[in-house]
């Protein structure tokens, strides 16, 4: 089985990076890279539309049996999408293109920059479409390299510190994850890296094998190892401290990718692995720690929101708000314990939150980047009255901000109401606490909008230009899905629904 479509999608950016390496003129590099990400976006849209919704399951399988030719080593090159990963591939395509557009003003070491950015996109896409655990891990790790260089070379503030902090946190998580993966693989009853079962390809995956397996390590321990890796990435309190630094110091496009896509790897892992594999694992089930997930989620939401209220740096503010909003993903996941009684509303909400938070926060970072480029400051007290001078940026920012605070009609509300409705019957207290985060969100978003965009124009900021047409493309491109989801969420929910259904046993 090898349709090659997914392989193309995964490696197109990397191939483009190779071409970029051979280009000379900086302007050519920029436009070629942007063009490549646009083609990539078109491919992901085609993929999203071509996925057969009546059939469901894993589709577009690319499989090379033994790509590592060692006798008995059962690692495969196995790509495929199902309802869970399909929207996230689309998300990566969207934000990848947005990030490339947001980079068209980069003037330092242009070639290197775009090479790293394109490799990053390949790595993240690879994470979402890999159905072989080892391959998944490899892509997961590859993503670190470009991130490290992108932050430390093109960042601001304390780039080296933040880049290193990001790498150390993620690597620590990865170390745990690797142990978990190996413990599963080395268990005689499992002895496979297949993350899902694909009946038509004759693949029997870990979720199906784990219930009867005599595991090498206690199931709870394996779960904890894997969970830590995802919790760092998500990030979940108290493993969140890398995020504000990395986001704040990264260049705009990298913040967009980081908030928009990289955090989603954690949420995806949580749903695919933590939920998918540990519902009936022997000796330990995810149900047993659902209360803990709910509690950590509630803490993340409120803690993140309260700290967001204290931030005076625009990017740092949005970074902390991500901590708060990603808490909703875990809150939704915690409803797994009663999925037989209350249905999959919470889990679907969690998946939706991955997508909506991705576009919304991506858009916020994009616009903050534009404002920063013009005013040369992100310190909120120094800003003010920008709306009069840059109405397009202000309008876009207000839209994204309102979506972030959960305004109905925009994407964020859909995910949040689904998480709340789906989780309230199971973890009432955690949901009530988490829902209060919405009130706080209104506080920090509107406070920021007021300070930055409203009020009289500030003289010391000088003459400011509104968005250039190249800037407008990604803003409009991200605003469209936010509105589309807000008004008619069915097109996305119906896809996620199939993926979630498949992960349940």
């Amino acid at each position: 089985m090898f349709s090659g479509f997914l392989t193309t999608i995964v490696f197109l950016p990397a191939a483009a990076a190779l071409v970029v390496a051979m280009l000379r003129r900086e302007q050519h590099i920029r436009w070629f890279a942007i063009g490549a990400t646009v083609v990539e976006l078109v491919l992901t849209v085609v993929l999203f539309l071509a996925y057969d919704r009546t059939e469901g399951g894993v589709q577009f399988i690319d499989r090379i049996g033994q790509w590592i030719p060692i006798a008995g080593f059962r690692a495969e090159y196995l790509l495929g999408v199902d309802g869970l990963s399909l929207p996230l591939v689309l998300l990566t395509g969207l934000l990848g293109a947005a990030a490339a557009f947001a980079s068209w003003r980069i003037s330092v070491r242009v070639k290197e920059y775009f090479i790293w950015l394109l490799i990053l996109q390949t790595a993240v896409t690879g994470v979402f479409v890999s159905l072989d655990f080892l391959l998944f891990f490899i892509f997961w790790e590859i993503e670190l390299l470009p991130m490290y260089f992108l932050i430390s070379i093109w960042g601001s503030g304390r780039p080296q510190y933040s880049a290193l902090k990001f790498v150390i946190f993620t690597l620590t998580g990865s170390a745990f994850m690797l142990v978990g993966i190996l413990a599963l693989y080395l268990t005689a009853d499992i002895n496979t890296f297949a993350m899902v079962s694909i009946p038509e390809a004759g693949i029997v995956g870990i979720p199906e094998l784990i219930p009867g397996a005599r595991l090498l390590l206690p199931a709870g321990l394996i779960f904890a190892f894997l969970f830590i890796a995802f919790a760092v990435k998500l990030p979940l309190w108290p493993l969140h401290n890398w995020l504000p630094d990395a986001h704040t110091d990264a260049p705009t496009a990298v913040s967009v990718m980081l908030a928009g896509v990289l955090l989603k790897m954690g949420g995806y892992g949580l749903l695919r692995v933590a939920v998918g594999m540990f519902q009936e694992s022997p000796g330990f089930q995810i149900d047993q720690v659902a209360w803990l997930l709910a509690a950590l989620a509630a803490v993340s939401v409120l803690y993140g929101a309260v700290l967001t209220l204290r931030q005076t740096d625009l990017k740092r503010l949005i970074a902390y708000s991500s901590v708060s909003h990603m808490g909703y993903v875990v809150l939704g996941v915690s409803s797994i314990v009663a999925v037989a009684d209350v249905g999959t509303g919470g889990l679907n909400g969690a998946a939706m939150q991955l997508f909506t938070h991705g576009v919304i926060t991506g858009l916020l970072f994009l616009l903050v980047g534009m404002a920063y480029e013009r005013t040369h400051t992100r310190y909120i007290p120094d800003l003010g009255g920008l709306a009069g001078k840059m109405p397009f940026i202000a309008t876009g920012f207000l839209l994204a901000g309102l979506a972030s605070l959960g305004l109905p009609g925009l994407g964020g509300f859909v995910a949040e109401i689904m998480v709340f409705l789906g989780t309230f019957p199971v973890w009432g207290w955690a949901t009530v606490l988490g829902a209060f985060g919405v009130v706080l969100a209104a506080g920090y978003i509107l406070w920021m909008v007021q300070r930055v965009f409203f009020g009289p124009p500030r003289q010391h900021l000088g003459h400011l230009h509104d968005a250039h047409w190249v800037d407008m493309i990604p803003v409009v491109g991200l605003a469209i899905p936010i509105v589309l989801i807000g008004i008619y969420p069915g097109w996305l929910v119906d896809v996620f629904k199939m993926g979630i259904e498949a992960t349940l046993r």
Binding site: A387, F420, L421
Partner: protein, 686 residues
């Protein structure tokens, strides 16, 4: 009426929003005048369709169009659809009717404003949201439009966003109402917990009718819904945003205060009345908060010098009446009062805007004598004032009386208490209303904006002194002395407003007179049946049997002559009192010492802004609570990370001593290692 037509009521203004926001504003802003016409045409269409809908309800009874699925996941189905019942019909007519007149007026009022197209885009969305709210069939759908209504008020209150006070007021409105919305959200969650199908209102009504909802459940859900209504309708203790909301353009205030934002709260409670009614506790809470707010807000209106703020307090107070009525079970009188209030309050706000057009300020201390220059505005303002004060036979008289009768006939201690509160508010209402009329129109002209600017220049060296920060954008010294800070056109030109503004005022004045007697007459008047409005609103067949039983009891307005006389006497006394003090247009009245203290408390709004913003939010929450979190984040959590790295580094450094490059040392280590391994082998291995 087909379902498509019903949807069109929402979609027309929505389409006008899209057209103005995405086409006219970005690409044809030079012809922004078109934005006004597009908006008016769309809302006129909605108004006509609303009348058709009201007629359809009259002929066929309530119509529940099919319920569809907005989100459908296993175990989580969020329905949506259209529900057209008498309550919806009344709200439709009020919202689209008032909005239509306001838009026409706005063409004059907003002429030449830089944000002309943007203004009409927001207004279209505002109207669409309100119409969407009242047509909603499921509670999540209501929440959806409810929040959009809040958004539009935010956008419109902060319409002149370069003014710090406007930006602060907009944020305040959104945040305070969102606090209430949290309660609403929890009510939605709890209702869903009782059964996913209950999100659909007709299904919920049936469940209530079948006795499937326990009282305790009804209490909590009712209180949550009421919390949302308290925020939106600016009831105590979430009333603080409404007076500040005067920073928006005056036609916006008219719309917010008459037919959209604040009316939404009353509508919501009315919509869930069958549920709320199950719980005596919830009903009492609603009645008491409503009654208290009626007096509390009116008392602040007594001393306000800003004409729009007087109206704002009046709105809060009148909404208190409606809540009170709902709380004592007088459902029909509440809706009736909502209906009449919409017309005369819109009229009063538009009059205030007209006054501002001439005087350039909203501060009544700088007005006076305007009746000479603007007789039409004077006349309609008197009409609106009399209607608000409840003078026979104007619209306000009929509805206010029914509310009072309802409270008294409730008979319980709460009923009596709220009845008395209602009576006190009657006196206050008449006083503040006519104080405003006299200060504005009587006496002699005191210079308007020019005089105010001169006074401010001598009082505050810096012209921007009154704006500033979010927390203290109001009340340095005397409550509301910043007429020039909000939405005023600046510049004095003493003349009557143009016809495009006066005409809508005239229509509203007619409504303020006749919307009571002709709509809900105590006896049949020619073709108009006796108690037409009450019968109509109670006419709920065939969809919701329960609702009708509950409601019909209150449908008959037991006209009570004693109460009518008493309340009229109080109103007349209030007007007389106002005339005594302000009849010759006095700008201020000197008070004896103890009253001056009361006056100060009232002008400072009972210090609620200080309590909320300075004490609770700033000091307690921001400086202490969230600062503590930040400290923990830096010192404990990130501190732990830091210590881990520190110890890693230190232990690494310590281990570097082993790798010192001396071959001798390495040789020793190797030899020792071999020896130890051998020793171990001999001891344990063999």
């Amino acid at each position: 009426m087909t379902e498509a037509l019903a949807w069109l009521i929402i979609l027309l203004p929505l389409a006008s929003f899209v057209a103005v926001a995405l086409v006219i504003r970005p690409f044809f802003n030079r012809w922004s005048i078109a934005a006004g016409w597009v908006t008016i045409a769309a809302i006129a269409g909605s108004f006509v369709l609303s009348l058709v809908a009201a007629a359809a309800v009259f002929n066929d009874g309530s119509i529940a169009y099919p319920s569809r699925q907005w989100i459908a996941a296993p175990g989580l189905v969020i329905p949506f659809g259209i529900l057209l019942d008498p309550l919806t019909a009344v709200m439709l007519v009020v919202a689209s009717g008032v909005s239509l007149l306001v838009q026409i007026y706005s063409q004059g009022y907003m002429r030449g404003d830089r944000g002309y197209a943007r203004y009409f885009a927001y207004m279209s969305l505002f109207t669409a949201s309100m119409l969407g709210l009242v047509l909603a069939r499921s509670i999540v759908q209501m929440f959806f439009f409810w929040e959009l209504v809040g958004l539009c008020s935010y956008l419109l209150i902060g319409f002149w966003f370069t003014r710090p006070a406007a930006a602060a007021a907009a944020k305040k409105a959104f945040l305070v109402t969102r606090l209430g919305d949290f309660g609403f959200l929890l009510a939605v969650l709890y209702l869903f917990f009782q059964g996913g199908e209950l999100l659909d209102v007709p299904t919920l009504y049936e469940a209530i009718h079948a006795g499937l909802i326990a009282t305790s459940v009804a209490t909590w859900i009712g209180l949550g819904i009421f919390a949302g209504a308290v925020g939106k309708s600016a009831q105590f203790p979430l009333h603080t945003w409404l007076p500040d909301a005067m920073e928006g353009p005056t036609p916006v205030s008219a719309l917010i205060h008459a037919a959209t934002m604040v009316a939404a709260g009353v509508f919501l409670v009315a919509r869930f009345f069958p549920l709320i009614e199950l719980s005596g506790t919830t009903m009492d809470v609603i009645a008491l908060i409503g009654g208290f707010t009626a007096v509390f807000a009116a008392s602040m209106g007594l001393v306000a010098n800003d004409i729009k703020r007087v109206m704002a307090y009046s709105t809060v107070s009148q909404l208190g009446y409606m809540m009170l009525a709902l709380g004592v079970g007088a459902y029909i009188p509440a809706i009736f009062h909502l209906f009449t209030h919409a017309w005369f309050k819109a009229l009063l706000f538009l009059s205030a805007g007209s006054v501002n057009h001439a005087a350039g300020t909203f501060d009544m201390r700088y007005m006076g004598g305007l009746r000479k220059y603007m007789p039409a505005t004077y006349a309609v303002m008197i009409i609106g004032g009399l209607s608000l004060a409840g003078i026979f036979p104007l619209a306000g008289f009929w509805s206010k009386d029914e509310v009072l009768v309802g409270a008294l006939e409730n008979g319980s201690p709460v009923g009596i208490m709220t009845f008395l509160l209602g009576l006190i508010a009657v006196l206050m209402t008449a006083f503040y209303m006519f104080r405003a009329v006299f200060m504005t129109f009587h006496g002699s002209w005191r210079g308007g904006a020019d005089a105010e600017a001169a006074a401010n220049a001598s009082a505050h060296p810096a012209p921007q002194a009154a704006g500033g920060h979010a927390g203290d954008g109001h009340g340095d010294g005397h409550g509301d002395g910043h007429g020039d800070e909000h939405g005023s056109h600046g510049g004095v030109h003493l003349a009557e407003s143009p016809l495009v503004m006066v005409l809508p005022m005239g229509i509203l004045a007619a409504a303020a007179i006749f919307a009571g007697i002709l709509v809900n007459p105590p006896t049949a008047l020619g073709p108009i049946e006796k108690h037409f409005f009450g019968e109509y609103a109670a006419h709920n067949k065939p969809v919701f049997p329960t609702h009708e039983d509950a409601v019909r009891a209150g449908a008959e307005p037991h006209f009570n002559l004693v109460i009518a006389l008493a309340s009229t006497a109080l109103a007349v006394a209030g007007i007389g009192l106002a005339y005594t003090f302000y009849g010759r247009g006095q700008a201020s009245v000197s008070l004896p010492a103890p009253l001056a203290k009361v006056h100060r408390v009232l002008t400072r709004k009972y210090y609620f802004d200080e309590l909320y913003e300075r004490v609770l939010v700033n000091n307690l929450f921001y400086r202490r609570f969230s600062a503590a979190f930040e400290w923990i984040d830096t010192n404990w959590i990130d501190g732990f990370n830091y210590r881990v790295t520190l110890w890693t580094e230190r232990s690494g450094r310590a281990l570097t001593h082993l790798q010192n490059g001396q071959i001798q040392a390495y040789g020793t280590a190797i030899a020792l290692g071999v020896l130890l391994t051998l020793a171990a082998y001999f001891v344990w291995g063999a």
